[in-house]
Symmetry: C2
């Protein structure tokens, strides 16, 4: 089991977007994180498709968060990028084979599927309990309250002005 690497990028982008006051192009976000611009663009498209960010076209276009940071959970971002499908899919092998359980007895999911589903629910619940605002607060505690505003200013500054 491996989570798409784009999830990390998308989460970081959501955090830094809280500090921006104008639309930020995907290329600018890629430059900030030193990652592939084309591939990060794909992740931002996924966020846009999920309604977490709004895309603004044109010369001064880019991406803007659609909601307050407190109203965006880590689960929202993860599901937007990685999909909402559960990690475990039951193929009902209990019904197969010479001693398969007859379908009439399979009214409820098999115990194994239930256990895996419960674990998946716990995972999602943990992610749902963390908002982007919480992440912003943690970053400020770790790196100081001035770090994020500085990044926000850098994001909104012209590309030619950096080093």
């Amino acid at each position: 089991m491996k989570l798409s690497g784009g999830v990390e990028w998308a989460l970081h982008c959501c955090v830094v977007l809280t500090a921006a006051t104008e639309p930020v192009p995907a290329a600018r976000l890629a430059q900030l994180h030193d990652v592939s611009p084309s591939y990060l663009a794909k992740q931002m498209q996924a966020l846009s498709r999920a309604g977490l960010v709004k895309s603004v076209q044109g010369k001064t276009g880019g991406y803007v968060l659609t909601r307050a940071a407190a109203d965006i959970t880590a689960l929202d971002v993860v599901q937007a990028v990685d999909g909402a499908n559960p990690a475990f899919v039951c193929t009902e092998i209990r019904q197969r084979g010479p001693l398969g359980t007859p379908p009439e007895e399979c009214t409820k999911p098999c115990p194994i599927a239930r256990a895996m589903s419960a674990a998946d629910a716990a995972w999602r619940a943990s992610l749902r309990g963390v908002s982007v605002a919480d992440l912003v607060g943690s970053v400020e505690r770790d790196s100081g309250p001035g770090a994020l505003p500085g990044i926000g200013a850098w994001l909104n500054s012209a590309q030619a002005s950096d080093g």
Copy 2:
């Protein structure tokens, strides 16, 4: 994120192995579940490598559980087949780019990695709380107390005796 399909097979095999009194070959387990014998053999090898089952070679060989069903958790099986690596791997992109955080300030994992790690821990904790014995009990509640012993007898019977 998608979990290896072999996890489901391995879990079912562990449940039915509790009903067997003699070593069960991988081919027999595959026949019971109507799945690819070669590929299921690979999963059983993973379980053997993890020490959950013991492989017995020779003519009447096969696989036997090494511990009581109550001492094998679903997490043990999942990790044996799918690997113990966490789904989320932090690539420390906060240190990259023009505004990267200096390494001296990165003593603790970044907040995003912490949130993902906590979710992973919740997922594992949920799986750790379910033992194979629990699954056996659920199966008996669902399909009746006679189903599993019947499967056990079928597993230990000669292959030519089935229909």
